[in-house]
Each structure stands twice: as structure tokens, then as C-alpha cells.
């Protein structure tokens, strides 16, 4: 691709981008959200027409006229959100749109099945073509997407953030599939903003920032720090200096808390934890070990089955979310689209989602528009939310800016306890750094912070103390600065039936 330029009203999404991908190469495309990666790939896949520039395939200039044309030319794309029909089998999903006919009426199932099996074998996995896609794990669904591309004889495969939804183990497996694909001569364009992954899998890395190529590197000649700086355009501290904390009195005291899930099963079993003023307590754990239910119990959305929660010495067990909010508990929820924002509302309304009925945002039952707008203006400038207007609808902001909006709202005021649930999931490095800095500033103001994250690195880098949650229990509490990453990983995976617990318990204050 040479000199690709694409303008949208108000933005140049791609500005003179050159990208060449060699046969059998894994080429990573790295950039922040909104840098122009997806636009470039949409052009390659025929979903958008470039305003300038040309695409050459095997040396010949081509015009790609829609996805069907792209597929016919051997270009396939695996979207971040899979395009699979859950009620159909693996084979049916793969054949969809390109059904091999045994005769004018019936599909040639047998031939299709054997070809799919053979394809799977080539790349090191056994496929049962008759399994329903809906019953597959996310990692397997992704393989089906890749098989779909291979079945169509793709020689250029575009993967848009393929690891975003995978567990680390699934990621390793998919990487080995990709390596074999590359050995067979397929070119792979791998879009990501996870630096360590890119360094692990790619043969070459091209970094895009604000629609321009800022450089190309091979993994051996670069580092995570350099790549991050290229993406963001300045030096980024991948690990924010957290400094010394000065923990004070206990702020949150959870004693023997039992919480059930939506089906009434107990998923938090007598958990106790204490978070002090001016410290960040991190909860590490594989997703689904009761963290969501714990957080919901702490903010009043879920009535505990037993146990006690105290805030600043006062019993707050079972209080309503509104009351807890007024007492100074704030939460950045794990899923900003579902819990944190109303995407169809403007920034202004989202800024006062909790406080809309409090002065100065309302007098009696009447909303005070000007006070709300003032709050939104402050939030936008203090938290560097990139938008053309405070009346912009939250759904039109990029992910990083949406999260900053949630953070701006929840960090406001004198808080006693701040709960950060997966605060940086899916964000680019610049936004992560910003949010981490804000959290540390809040800690240094004396707020007690409870951090829940599935990213072990985030927990270890940001917290003062770390607790490991496993099957609804806190299996260990350790000092984050001296904690051993591997030990914690083991505790997360097994709950720790070994000596680790003893060591960890000693380290706990």
C-alpha cells in the first residue's frame, strides 16, 4: 500500500501511509485507538475507498471493490467481533456464502468436512466440523474465523486485535497457529495495542500515530518503551511511579462477607479484607472468581448473604447505592458501556449521572443546566477528554475518552473509598498512564482505593498491597513491592495449596 490517504469530514484518518507486507511475514500494525489502523484495513478490505494512493498485490496495482472482491483476491479479515452464526455448525459457518454443491440442490457436505479437517491438521489442531459454533469457547471461535479465511484461500490475513478476548493460554495457542500459517507463506497483518504481544509474534512492526506512519521496527531492534513512545508521540511511563504510600486508619473493613450471584449461588465465601486510607489495595484474580459480586455488594447493588461491611468504622452493610455514594464511595465499573455511561446521553448528563439531584446541579426537582454544563467543562479540561463539544454524545467518544469521562465523574469530590474495577481494560497506553496517575494522586490525598483487575501487571504496578481472590476467597495478601509475579500467578490459577500461602501470609501486615 503506497501513499494511502483517507479524509473524513474534519479528520485525516490516513495520511500518506505506506505499508508493505511480504509473503510469509507477520506484520504488526500498532497504534492508539483512533490512530487510523482500522481505516487502513477497511481500505485494504474494500470497505472504504482511499482518497489517494494505491494498493499493489504481488506487484500489480489493484482497485479493491468491496469485501467480496477482497476475498476473491485472497485478502481475508478476522474482525475483533466475530462474524459467526452461533446456531450453525463450524462447517456451515465456514461454507456460508461459498457453499460447495454436490448437485444443484444439495450441499457437498462430505467434501467440505474433509477439507476443513485437513486444513485444521495443517495448522496443528483437530476440528470437528459438525460442532455448533455457539458451544465453542472464544478461542475456538477465533480459530473458526481463521479457518473461514483459509478455506477461501487467503494469502493475506488481517487480524483485528485477535487477543483482546482471549486468555493468556489461548493467546499462546493462537500464536503457534499464526506462526505455522506464516511458515506456509500466508502474510499476516496483526493489529494490536498490546506491546509485549507484538514484540513476541511480529516479524516487523509498523507504528501509526494520528493517521501517519511514524516508523517501522523489527522486534530485535526495539523495546516496549520505544514503541509506546512512538505510539503516543512522547515518552510514556508504562509503569507509573507510584511513590511511597502513607496508609492511615482502616477505611473499609469487610468481615466474613458472603455474597450470592444472580442465580442465588454463593460465590463469595466469608471474605475479609481491609483497605486503609491512602493505600491502594489490589485484588488479583482470574475473572469470575467472585470479584464482580464483591464489588456489587460493596456499592450496594447486591445484598450480602452474610457478614459485615464497615466504612470508617460505621456499619454500612446493605445500604442503598445512593446512600453509599453520599457517604463517599465511588466506583469505576468494569463495563463502562453497560454500567458506567449512558451512551446516548451527552457528556453533560453523563457527568452528573449520580449527582443530578444534588445541589448545585438541581434545585428541588429542577435541573440547573448551567451548573451541569460548568461541571462538564471542568471535567473535560481536567481529564483531557478529547471532544469537540460537551454536548457530544458519549457513544461518539473513543474508548479512552469514555473511560476518562467515567473517571472524571467518579473521582470528583472528597471520597472515602474509591473502587476501580478493571479501570483500564481495552485502553491504549496513553490513557492507561493517565488513569494510573490520577489514581495515585487520589491515593496520596488520603482516599482508600480498592483496585480489581484481571491484569496482574496492573495490580502489581499500582497497588501497595495485593490480595489474591480465588473461588470467592482471599487466599493471600502480600506486599505489592516485594511480591513475586510467578507466585501470585500460581495463586490465581490454583488458589495455592503449597507453601506459597504461608510465605504470603507472613508478608501480609
Amino acid at each position: 500500500m503506497r501513499g494511502i490517504t483517507k479524509r473524513y469530514p474534519g479528520v485525516v484518518a490516513n495520511d500518506q501511509i505506506d505499508l508493505d507486507v511480504r509473503p510469509g511475514e507477520i506484520h504488526a500494525l500498532l497504534g492508539e485507538n483512533g490512530a487510523g489502523k482500522s481505516t487502513l484495513m477497511n481500505i485494504l478490505y474494500g470497505l472504504a475507498a482511499p482518497d489517494a494512493g494505491e494498493i499493489r498485490l504481488g506487484g500489480k496495482p489493484v482497485t479493491i471493490d468491496g469485501p467480496a472482491d477482497a476475498i476473491a483476491r485472497g485478502i481475508s479479515m478476522v474482525h475483533q467481533h466475530f462474524m459467526l452464526v452461533p446456531v450453525l455448525s463450524i462447517a456451515e459457518n465456514i461454507l456460508l456464502g461459498e457453499e460447495p454443491m454436490a448437485n444443484p440442490v444439495f450441499l457437498d457436505r462430505a467434501a467440505a468436512h474433509s477439507r476443513i479437517r485437513a486444513l485444521g491438521h495443517t495448522f496443528g489442531f483437530d476440528v470437528d466440523p459438525e460442532l455448533k459454533v455457539g458451544s465453542l469457547s472464544v478461542g475456538w471461535q477465533q480459530r473458526v474465523e481463521i479457518l473461514k479465511a483459509l478455506y477461501r484461500n487467503a494469502n493475506i490475513l488481517v487480524l483485528d486485535e485477535p487477543t483482546a478476548v482471549l486468555t493468556p493460554q489461548e493467546t499462546t495457542e493462537i500464536f503457534s497457529v499464526l506462526r505455522r500459517l506464516a511458515q506456509e507463506g500466508t502474510s499476516i497483518i496483526f493489529i494490536s495495542h498490546k506491546l509485549y504481544e507484538v514484540l513476541e509474534i511480529a516479524d516487523r512492526i509498523t507504528v501509526i500515530r494520528r493517521g501517519r506512519v511514524v516508523g517501522s521496527r523489527t522486534p530485535s531492534e526495539t523495546t516496549e518503551d520505544e514503541l509506546a513512545a512512538m505510539m503516543v508521540g512522547r515518552g510514556v511511563q508504562l509503569v507509573v511511579e507510584r511513590g511511597e504510600s502513607h496508609p492511615g486508619e482502616p477505611m473499609l473493613q469487610v468481615d466474613e462477607l458472603h455474597v450470592g450471584d444472580d442465580k442465588g449461588r454463593e460465590v463469595v465465601h466469608g471474605l475479609s479484607v481491609e483497605v486503609r486510607r491512602g493505600e491502594i489495595f489490589g485484588i488479583a484474580g482470574v475473572v469470575g472468581n467472585g470479584q464482580d459480586e464483591l464489588v456489587e455488594a460493596l456499592v450496594g447493588l447486591r445484598r450480602p448473604l452474610g457478614g459485615r461491611v464497615r466504612l470508617d468504622g460505621r456499619d454500612i452493610t446493605g445500604m442503598s447505592p445512593r446512600r453509599l455514594h453520599r457517604m463517599g464511595i465511588a466506583v469505576v465499573p468494569a463495563d463502562r458501556h453497560r454500567f458506567g455511561l449512558v451512551l446516548s446521553f451527552p457528556i453533560t448528563d453523563n457527568c452528573v449521572l449520580n449527582d443530578y439531584a444534588e445541589p448545585p446541579y438541581a434545585r428541588g426537582m429542577v435541573r440547573s443546566e448551567e451548573a451541569i454544563r460548568e461541571r462538564a467543562r471542568e471535567a473535560v479540561s481536567a481529564f483531557d477528554i478529547r471532544t469537540h463539544s460537551i454536548d457530544a454524545v458519549a457513544g461518539t467518544l473513543s474508548g479512552g475518552n469514555q473511560q476518562k469521562l467515567v473517571v472524571a465523574r467518579e473521582f470528583e469530590g472528597n471520597l472515602r473509598l474509591l473502587i476501580l474495577d478493571q479501570p483500564t481494560r481495552g485502553l491504549d497506553v496513553g490513557s492507561i498512564e493517565f488513569i494510573h496517575r490520577q489514581a495515585i494522586a487520589k491515593r496520596d490525598d488520603g482516599t482508600a482505593i480498592l483496585l480489581v483487575s484481571a491484569e496482574l501487571d496492573e495490580v502489581l504496578e499500582l497497588s501497595d498491597r495485593v490480595g489474591v481472590m480465588y473461588r470467592g476467597r482471599m487466599v493471600a495478601v502480600v506486599d505489592a513491592r516485594s511480591a513475586n509475579r510467578e507466585d501470585i500467578g500460581l495463586l490465581m490459577a490454583t488458589g495455592g495449596k503449597t507453601d506459597v500461602i504461608a510465605d504470603a501470609a507472613e508478608a501480609a501486615p
Binding site: S38, N42, V299, G340, A362, G395, T396
Partner: protein, 391 residues
């Protein structure tokens, strides 16, 4: 979950929120495009059917639709009396449309405006007959409030059922519509039957009759309906309760996290919807019929759903939608006389409009409007979501 790159066409909603503020001219075009196009398409379908039926009856006249529509328009807007009649016909539809529209804002599909209207009418008729001898200053507000309160109670029931048991309002409100008709039949033939009446009907409301302010039938209820438009707008966009209603409608999970109580809001909203629909029924009884028959039949509550959809669940849009439907009702008589087109064609047109609104994809394709360019029809999402969707 990670975020897709932000491309300009990626937004599911328009870039600016228009609802609370006065939109720009371009914004108005965007908002009104689909409803206006649907109305035009509905009129075209009506015209084609007029031609086809004239073909069948032998009096084929290519200009027939034009003749019919111009006489309809003249009848509805051509004279001061015509305009009065249009306004009076639109009155219950304004209140009923608001009753459905507020529900949409809270993410609720209130099919029960019909039943709420009927029970409101019954309450006003029953109480009105009871206080028919009292001075008008007391009788009128008491009877009106009775209608509003009965409608509100009829809305409270599905609200409470939904909040406490999760029973879906689409199912419960439809069932309550039937129950409302049955309750009327029972009460009007029994306890509320006018003494000495030869038909099954309630006694006259006497002093509770609404005063006539203009024309021959321009009763006080017309003003109440017109006042309800800005009042609803204020409630939805300027009050904290309206903010809660809209938040619960747009994202109930986020509303819970923000400390709102969706269950309470659901009950309140459906009660409010019932109150407005009940007020519509009360206005018709106290302002026009002055008593209620056991066989009282109407389609106001169902037409209100169309009105709310044409109005995109916005009070101002609902006002226009109600005026449109009111004008059709008001003008259909003259149309039948001067063009020889049966007034039932109005039902065909109204049904076609609703079809085009519901099939907005079709209209968008005809107009070559992409979803991202127009404003998302949230109220339609509520309709489709509440019909046993996966949400």
C-alpha cells in the same frame, strides 16, 4: 473488550444530543425525515387504494386522490370551524400520545393507553354523575381528577407487576385493555347505571361538564391537552424525575449504578402514563359525550401509539402527530361527501403510516439515508426490544 478505532461513521447515535435543546434547522430535518417520509408514503398508498377501488366500482378518475386529499385538507384547515374541529379531534390523541411517548422514554412499551383511557373515562363519568349537582367550580376538578386518578391506577398495575414480579408490560397492558372493557360493561350496566335509563349508560355529568371555550364543542380539555405538551417536555428534560426516566429508559444498568431505582421509576412512569391517558378519557366524557355507555367504543388508545411513533416520542412531535390524525378524522366526513371516498380510507392511511414507520429500514433505503446520518429511532428499539427480543 477493546474499543474499535473511531471512524466517523461508527457512532450509533448522532453526534449531538438534540432532545433537551432547540435543534438547528438541519437537526430538525434529520429528526423529522423518517416520520414525514412515512406520512407521505402512507398518503401515497391511500391514493393508490382510492384509484384501485374506483377502478373496481367503475368511476375511475386519475385525479381522485388529489380531489379527496384537497377536500380533506379544506375540511380540516380551510375554515375556523374546521380548525376547531381538528383541534378537538386531536385533543385525546395529544394526551394519549404523550402517555405512550413518556413510556418509550423510560424504555416501556405502553400498549395499555387504551385501557387507561377507558378507565379514566369511566372514573370521570361515574364521579361526574355523582357530583353532577354540585357547583361547577367543584364538580369539574373533582371529576377530572377522578378520571386522571383512575387512569393512573390502571397504569400503576402493570408498573407494579413489572417492578415486583418482572411481568412484561406489553403482555400485562394488553390484558388490562380487555379487563378495562369488561369492567366498564359491568359497572355501567350495574352500579353506575343511570336511574330510570332505557339504555345501559351512566347518568349525565351535569355541572361537571367542561365549559365550552370556543366554537360549538371547544371544551376546556383542549387547553389541558395543549398545556400538557410543554409540561411533559419540561418534566422530561428539565426535571430530575425526567432525567431518571430517560436514564432508566436508555440504560437501566447504568441507572442502578448511579443509585436510581429502576423499579420505582417504572411504577411511577406507567402511573404517569395512565394519568395522561385517563385525563384524555375524562376530557372526552366531560367535554363531549357527557355520559358513558356500556358499549363505549374507541380506538384512541391504539391510535395514540401511532401518534407517539410519528412524533418520535417527543412532546412537540406528538403534538404534530396528533394534529395530523385529528385533521384526518375531522376532514374525512367532507371527503366522503365531496369526493365519494369512504372515510374508512383514513384507517388505511394511518395503518400504512405505522407500517412505514416500523419498517424504517425500507424508508431509509428509499431515501438513501444511512442510520448513522439520521437519528436512531430509540422508541422503535423499545418496541422491538420489548417484543420478546434478546435484551
Amino acid at each position: 473488550m477493546t474499543e474499535p478505532d473511531r471512524t466517523p461513521a461508527a457512532g450509533r447515535t448522532s453526534g449531538r444530543a438534540w432532545r433537551g435543546r432547540i435543534p438547528s434547522p438541519g437537526g430538525i430535518v434529520r429528526i423529522a425525515l423518517i416520520p414525514v417520509a412515512s406520512v407521505v408514503a402512507g398518503l401515497l398508498v391511500g391514493g393508490v387504494i382510492m384509484l384501485l377501488s374506483s377502478l373496481a366500482t367503475g368511476g375511475f378518475n386519475i385525479a381522485l386522490p388529489l380531489v379527496a386529499y384537497s377536500s380533506l385538507f379544506t375540511a380540516a384547515f380551510g375554515s375556523i370551524n374546521g380548525i376547531f374541529f381538528t383541534l378537538i379531534s386531536a385533543t385525546p390523541l395529544i394526551l394519549g400520545g404523550l402517555a405512550v411517548g413518556i413510556g418509550f422514554k423510560a424504555g416501556l412499551f405502553n400498549i395499555g393507553a387504551q385501557g387507561q383511557y377507558l378507565i379514566g373515562a369511566l372514573g370521570a363519568a361515574g364521579v361526574g354523575a355523582a357530583v353532577s349537582g354540585a357547583p361547577a367550580v367543584a364538580a369539574i376538578p373533582v371529576a377530572l381528577l377522578a378520571g386522571a386518578a383512575c387512569g393512573a391506577a390502571w397504569g400503576f398495575i402493570p408498573g407494579a407487576l413489572k417492578a415486583w414480579t418482572g411481568a412484561h408490560e406489553v403482555v400485562t397492558t394488553i390484558m388490562l385493555n380487555f379487563i378495562a372493557s369488561a369492567v366498564i360493561a359491568y359497572l355501567v350496566t350495574g352500579p353506575l347505571l343511570a336511574p330510570g335509563a332505557s339504555f345501559a349508560q351512566t347518568g349525565p355529568v351535569g355541572n361537571a361538564e367542561l365549559p365550552i371555550l370556543f366554537g360549538s364543542q371547544g371544551h376546556l380539555g383542549v387547553l389541558i391537552a395543549l398545556a400538557a405538551v410543554p409540561a411533559t417536555w419540561w418534566l422530561l428534560w428539565k426535571s430530575t424525575l425526567g432525567f431518571e426516566i430517560r436514564t432508566v429508559g436508555a440504560n437501566p444498568d447504568a441507572a442502578r449504578y448511579a443509585g436510581m431505582r429502576p423499579a420505582v421509576i417504572t411504577i411511577l412512569t406507567l402511573s404517569l402514563c395512565g394519568m395522561l391517558a385517563g385525563l384524555a378519557g375524562a376530557g372526552q366524557i366531560l367535554g363531549i359525550t357527557h355520559f358513558m355507555q356500556a358499549s363505549y367504543g374507541t380506538a384512541i388508545g391504539f391510535d395514540s401509539i401511532s401518534v407517539a411513533l410519528i412524533g418520535r416520542a417527543h412532546p412537540v412531535g406528538i403534538l404534530f402527530g396528533a394534529l395530523l390524525f385529528g385533521a384526518m378524522r375531522a376532514g374525512s366526513g367532507l371527503m366522503q361527501i365531496s369526493a365519494g371516498v369512504p372515510s374508512e380510507i383514513i384507517d388505511v392511511i394511518q395503518a400504512s403510516i405505522l407500517l412505514f414507520l416500523a419498517a424504517d429500514v425500507l424508508v431509509r433505503r428509499l431515501l438513501r439515508v444511512r442510520r448513522a446520518e439520521g437519528v436512531e429511532l430509540e422508541e422503535l428499539q423499545t418496541v422491538s426490544r420489548t417484543y420478546g427480543g434478546t435484551h
